[in-house]
Amino acid sequence: MSSTLASKRFDVKKSLVDAVLAGLIALIVFGPIVGVVLDGYAFNLQPDRVAAMIGAVMLGRFVLSLFLQTPRGLAILAGFETVGSGVHVRDPGYQSHLRWVLPLLVVVALVFPFFASKYLLTVVILGLIYVLLGLGLNIVVGLAGLLDLGYVAFYAIGAYGLALGYEHLGLGFWSVLPLAALAAALAGGLLGFPVLRMHGDYLAIVTLGFGEIIRLVLNNWLAFTGGPNGMSVPAPTFLGLEFSRRAKDGGVPFHEFFGIDYNANFKFLFIYLVLLLVVLLVLYVKNRLTRMPVGRAWEALREDEIACRAMGLNHVLVKLSAFMIGASTAGLAGVFFASYQGFVNPASFTFFESALILAIVVLGGMGSTVGVVLAAFVLTVAPELLRSFAEYRVLLFGVLMVLMMIWRPRGLIRVSRNGVQPRQGVAP
C-alpha cells in the first residue's frame, strides 16, 4: 500500500493534464466576461487579463493536483467523506488559559480609548458593533443552526427605532436602547413563529425576503422614513448632559458640568464605553445560555431535529428563543450604529451587510465566541487598513465563505467544551 502511495506521489503527468483541462475551462468561462469589456454597444478586448487569469488557474490547479497526491492531501480528500463531530470535548478539570488573558483584555479595552485618536476610536467602535452583530447571529446560525439571511432587518429596526423614536416620540438614546432590543425581538418573534415550523432551508429564503421588504419600505416610504435621504439621529447624552461644545436650550454640556476641557472625542468615547459594556454583557449572557438547558437544546436541535422532537423538545419554542435573542442583539447593535453615525439611511442595510455578518460567523466558527469576536475585528478593521483592496473586498469574502465551507465547515476555531465528571458518592 505504502509503495503505491509513494509511486503515485509524483504522477506529474496527471497533474499536467488536470492543469490543461482547468485552463481550457477557464478560457471558456473567463474569456468572454473578462476579455471582452462592454463599452456602450461596442466592446474593448483585454486579452492580457484573460491570459493572466488562465495562467493563475492552471498554476493553481497544478499545485492543488500535486498536493492532493501527497499523503496529507489524500487525508484531506478522505475527510470530505465524513462529517466531523461538532464539539471538541476536553478533560473535565481543564482550565483554559483564557482566564488569565480575559481580565487583561478587558482592562486594556477600558483604558485604550483615552489614548486613542478619534479615527482609531471610530474604527474600533465599528468593529465592536460587528462583534455584537456577529454574537447575535452566532446564536441563530451557529448554535441553533437556523440560517438567517435577513439579519440586517433587525439591525435596521434598531437603527431606525432611534431615528423614528426621536422624531415622533422625542425618545433619546437611553430609552430607545431597551425598546429597540424589545422591538427587534418582537419582530423576530412575529416573523419566526409561523416560519420556524417549516423545513430549515425555507427559513433562509423567508428571512432574505423579509430583509428586502424592510429595506424597500424604508427606501420608498418617503413621508415616514425620509426615503433614500435617510434621517438624522440625536447624539447620545449622559444623565441628560450633552457632549457637544454648547448644549441646546440653555442646558449644560458634559464638559462644563464636570469642569474639564472640551474634547471632540467625548461622544465617541461615551459610545465606545457603553458599547463595550453591552458587548461584555452579551458575551456573559451567551456564555451562560450555552450551559443552560435552552442552549443545550439549541445545539441538539441543530444536530438532529427529528431526534430532538422524538425526545419531546418543543422545536418551535426552542428555535424561536434563539431567533428572538439573536434579533434583539441586532436591535441593540442598530441603536449604537445609528448614534455612532448620527444619521441612518437604507443604504446601510443591504443584503451585503447580512452576508458580511454571516461571513463573520462562518469564519469565526459556528458557535465559537472567541472566533466570532476575532473574525468581526479582522473583517471590519482589515478593510479600513487595506483601502486599496476595497474593490476586491466582496470577492474576498465570497471566496473565503466557499473555501471555509469546503475546508472547515465548522469554522477556524473549534468549539471546545469541558467534559462532565459524574459526582463521587452519588447513586447512579
Binding site: 475551462i25 462592454l38 454597444y41 430549515g200 425576503g209 421588504i213 427529528i306 465570497g398 465563505m401 469546503i406
Partner: protein
C-alpha cells in the same frame, strides 16, 4: 381600465414566462439534492452579460439579420452559461455533498457574492445595454386607449414556450430525463441501479443554467439594460415562482412563474410600482407560511 388591465396582462405573461425559465433551475436543483442554489440568480445575470457581449461581437462582424443574430447569441450564451453552471457545481457544491446541512447554502451565498463582484470588477459597475433588435408592435384599440404587443414580446413568449416544451420532452422521454427523475426520486437507489448520480447532478446544474441563459437573452432583449446587481432581485422572484408552483415540480415552476409575473404586473398597474418588489417578497413569505408545498408540490415529509 380595461386597456391597462390587458396591457399589464401581456407584460405580466412575458415577465412570468421568463421567471418560469429561471425558476426551473431552482426547482430542479432542489428536487435532486434538496438545496437552494443561491447563485442561480447570478447565473442569469452572467448570461445577460454574455448575451450583450455576443450581440456586440456579432454586430462588429457585420451581422445584421435578426434570425442569425438571435440564433448566434442564444447558442453562444446557452453554451457558455451551461459551462458556468457546471463549474459552479464542481467548485462550490460537489466537495460538500456529505457535509453539514448549512454548508452548501453558505457556500452558495459565497459563490453568489464572488460572481457578482467578479462581473463588477471585470465589466465595471455601470449599467449596460443592448440595442433594440426587433422594432414594431401589434396595436389593438380598446375603449379609450390601445394595447401594445411588441414583436419582442411575441418572440419572448414563443421562445420561452419552445424552451419549456423542449425541456419537458427531455425530462419525460429521453434517457437523460429518466436518469434525472430516478435520481430525484431516490439518489441511493438510482446509484445502486448503475446511474452515475454525481454526473446527473452536474447535468441538472447545466440544464438549469441553460434555461437561465435563455431567460437572460430574452429579458435583455425586452428591457435593453442590466447591471451586475440584476441577478439578486430576479433570483428571489424566480425562487418565489418555484415555491409558488411547488418546489421540485417542473410544471409547477412554469405555472408559478406565469402567476407571479401576472400578479406583479397587475399590482404595479393598479396599485403602485414602487412597492412591486415588496409585493412579490410578501407573497413569498405568505406562501411559505400558509402553503409551503406550493400549488403542485407534495408536502415535505421528514424521514429518518
Amino acid at each position: 381600465m380595461d386597456g391597462i388591465f390587458l396591457q399589464q396582462m401581456i407584460n405580466g405573461l412575458t415577465l412570468g414566462a421568463v421567471y418560469g425559465l429561471i425558476a426551473i433551475g431552482y426547482t430542479m436543483v432542489y428536487g435532486i439534492i434538496g438545496m437552494i442554489n443561491f447563485a442561480h440568480g447570478e447565473v442569469y445575470m452572467i448570461s445577460a452579460y454574455l448575451a450583450a457581449i455576443s450581440l456586440a461581437v456579432l454586430a462588429y462582424f457585420g451581422l445584421e439579420s435578426f434570425p442569425l443574430l438571435i440564433l448566434g447569441t442564444l447558442l453562444f450564451t446557452i453554451c457558455i452559461t451551461g459551462v458556468y453552471g457546471w463549474v459552479i457545481e464542481r467548485v462550490a457544491y460537489k466537495p460538500l455533498r456529505n457535509s453539514t446541512r448549512l454548508a452548501p447554502l453558505i457556500s452558495a451565498i459565497g459563490m453568489s457574492l464572488v460572481l457578482q463582484n467578479y462581473v463588477q470588477i471585470s465589466q465595471g459597475a455601470r449599467q449596460q445595454g443592448v440595442p433594440t433588435l426587433l422594432e414594431g408592435a401589434f396595436k389593438l384599440n380598446i375603449g379609450e386607449g390601445f394595447v401594445q404587443l411588441t414583436y419582442t414580446k411575441v418572440f419572448i413568449l414563443i421562445a420561452a414556450f419552445v424552451g419549456m416544451a423542449l425541456l419537458t420532452y427531455v425530462i419525460q422521454y429521453t434517457k437523460l430525463g429518466r436518469m434525472c427523475r430516478a435520481t430525484q426520486q431516490d439518489r441511493k437507489m438510482a446509484s445502486i441501479l448503475g446511474i452515475n448520480t454525481d454526473r446527473v447532478i452536474s447535468y441538472v446544474f447545466v440544464i438549469g443554467a441553460a434555461m437561465a441563459a435563455l431567460a437572460g437573452v430574452l429579458i435583455t432583449m425586452n428591457y435593453g439594460t442590466f447591471d451586475f446587481y440584476a441577478g439578486f432581485i430576479i433570483g428571489i422572484k424566480a425562487f418565489t415562482a418555484a415555491v409558488l408552483g411547488g418546489i421540485g415540480s417542473l410544471p409547477g415552476a412554469m405555472l408559478g412563474g406565469l402567476i407571479l409575473g401576472v400578479a406583479e404586473a397587475q399590482f404595479s398597474g393598479m396599485v403602485n410600482t414602487d412597492y412591486k418588489d415588496v409585493f412579490s417578497f410578501s407573497l413569498l413569505v405568505l406562501i411559505l407560511i400558509f402553503r409551503p408545498q406550493g400549488l403542485l408540490g407534495r408536502p415535505h415529509v421528514a424521514k429518518v
